[in-house]
Structures are given as structure tokens and as C-alpha cells.
Amino acid sequence: MEALKLKLKQEIIEALNLQDTKPEDIDDNAPLFGEGLGLDSIDSLELMVLLERNYKIKVEDPREGRKILQSVQSMAEFIMSKQAA
């Protein structure tokens, strides 16, 4: 799980071009949107694409997406649950 979260943080930084942000700057449980990283709706689409491209997971229901993209922790838990299934 820890390795996955670190990998996710690196992928988020690269995909969203978060200059001057390092993986250690991102708290596992901090909200990705609004406060925390301050991401917006276009970023949420990019994160959906990231999940699809890197983990072959397609999020069909936008309401489900809101929960999944809450934090790095929630994203990692979702990926692991899908990979275990």
C-alpha cells in the first residue's frame, strides 16, 4: 500500500504538472480538491484518465469518482480493491 501511494503521488505530480511539489509534500489523507492540493474539475478528469491509462480502471459513475478522488489514500484503496477483485 505504501509503495502504491508513493507511486500515485509521483504520477499525480507528473500528470498535473505540479511544479515545485514533491511526493512528500502530499499528505495521504489531505483532500485533493479545494483545500490541500487545490485541484479543480479539469484535474479530476485528468485523474480519471490516469486511473484508466496506468491501472486499466474505468470509473463509470461520476458520484463514485467523487469518493475515489477524495485523497491519495482513497485512490490507493480503490485501486487495490479493483486489483484484488
Binding site: A15, L16, N17, L18, Q19, G38, D40, I42, L45, E46, V49, E52, R53
Partner: protein
Amino acid sequence: MEIKCYIQASAAISPQQSFEGSYEPQLLPLEARNLLRAQEPGYAGFIPPNSLRRMSRLLKMGLTTALQCLRNANAPVPGAIITGTGRGSLQDTEKFLHDIRTYEETALNPTPFIQSTYNSVNGLIALQQQCTDYNNTFVHRGFSFEHALLDSLLQIQEGAESVLTGGFDEMTLEHFFIKSRIGYWKSALTQPAEMLVSGTPGAIAGEGATFFLIGTAPGAVELMGMQMSYKPDAAGVSETLAQFLAQHGVKEEEIDLLVSGRNGDVRFDHFYDIAEKALTPATAKIHFKQFCGEYDTAGAFGMWTATQELLSGRHKTALIYNHFYGEQHTFILLQRH
């Protein structure tokens, strides 16, 4: 024109050090290929970090040039935003097309698609400056900036007090390669200092973003008029120029500066001979593509060059003559007051 138009401010990002406000064009050396790259400024003072991280190169160049022009004019909200671009954001277009192929039309990132649309720069300017007035982008190859300028002049005739108008284009290595296959660029490495006497086909590629705030408030440089002509022959160029000058009551001998788009392409440079011969030998000549290279909206940099020359006080009346690969020809008249 019934209502006089003046250039109230300008800004340019180009291969020259033009953005800092100094006007000292240099013949820059080329090392690897016939391409003059724009010198980009720091963007942090213009664009919020959260927006900056998502923007591609052309968007940053276009938006920053527009904002600098508005700052120079001390006019944050123009009466309209009208631009021209021949290619829009090539970097985003290429990324989007590349992703379509790589991911077989699935899992496509929305950002490059959004930014690859031609009017992205206009939208960003309008959002950042909260300008809800007329907003339009023209995409007509070598007539792109010129149509934006024509629309700007028409808007002013219809009541707009000021219009932010500009042109922007970038060059990517992939697009440079594609265009090299169809003879756009000189095949051998040619320095800008030698391009006009190279005696070879093709040009040196360039890129840049140039903006003007034009309006009715009297300024130092009047934009007297513009005339476009599509695919004229030699006689047509001569006739169009004569009519254009007569229409604006300007005699050939009154023009003391010709800013020409001559680029050393032996296939099309003969058109510039016509304009040069129509003027007096005393008319000073500046071939602006030695400084910015060739691109669809290079004419905007030509107008910026002429504006700087007039503002320097060295000249009174400037004629700009530019064409894009012999097809889209444009004359513009500027006069210092």
C-alpha cells in the same frame, strides 16, 4: 476610414529581446536548423501558478503578450478581443493526436484537446481580464492576423473605443519537419544575416506572439489603413499598392520607411521588388523576417517593427508590405503624429 484609429500600446514575444520593451533587432545566429525560436519571458508575474502549470507554450506566450500590451496601455479591459493564428497550439494538437493513436481513442486527456482549439488564448485573456465583450479568432493561414486587424478596424468603425488585437504562432520540431518536406524552409543551414542573398528557395522558420491595443483615443501612431490581396500577379501587386496609397491620400515620396516581409525565398521575393521600385530610393528599408523568421502571423511582428521605428522618431510614414509564400499579400500604412 471615417473614424481614425491609433496604436495605443503594443507588446511582442519574438526571437528578439522584444518583450522587455527595448527595440534593438539583432541578426541572431542559427546553429542546428533554420528556425528562430522565440525568447520566452518569465510567466509567473502574469499567470497564476495553478493556471500556468496546465498551459502549453503558445498559450503562455499569447496570454502573457496580451496582458503586457494591456498593462502598457494601462487599460485592463479592452472593448473587444480579436486575434489571428495560423496553427493555434501545435504542441497541444500534436499531443492530442499522439494520444489518440497511442491509447486507441480511449483514455484521452481533456487538456490538450481544450487548448488545441484556436480560440483558447482569446478565452484565457477574456477570463483573466473579465472581458465579456466581442471575442473572435481568425484562422486563415497567412491572412490570420490581417483578418483580425480588419475585424478590429470594423469594430472601431461601429463604435468600439478600443480593441485588443494580435497574432500568435509557434513552431514544433515535428511541424518544422513536415513543412520542410514541402519546401517551406531553406534546405541548407542559412544564417539570417545571409538569407536575403542566399539565392535559394525556402525561408527561415520563426514564431512569436504580438499584440496591439488599437482605439480611437489619439496616440502617437495612426493606423491609416490596410489592404489585402489574394494571389495577385506582379501587375496586381503594383496596381493594389497604387490604389491603396491613393485611397489614403499618401504619395510614394511621403513614405520614408518600407517594412518588408522579404525572406530570401527566390520563388517569391520578386513581389517585394515591385513595392521597393514603386517608392523612392531614399525610402529606408527594414526586412523584418531577418529578425523573426517566417510564420503565418509574422505580419503582426512587421507591424510591431514599424510601430517601434515610428515611435523612435526616425521616420514619419511607414508602409508595411508582407506576403505569405506568394499567396496572401497585405499592405498596411502607419503614420506618426
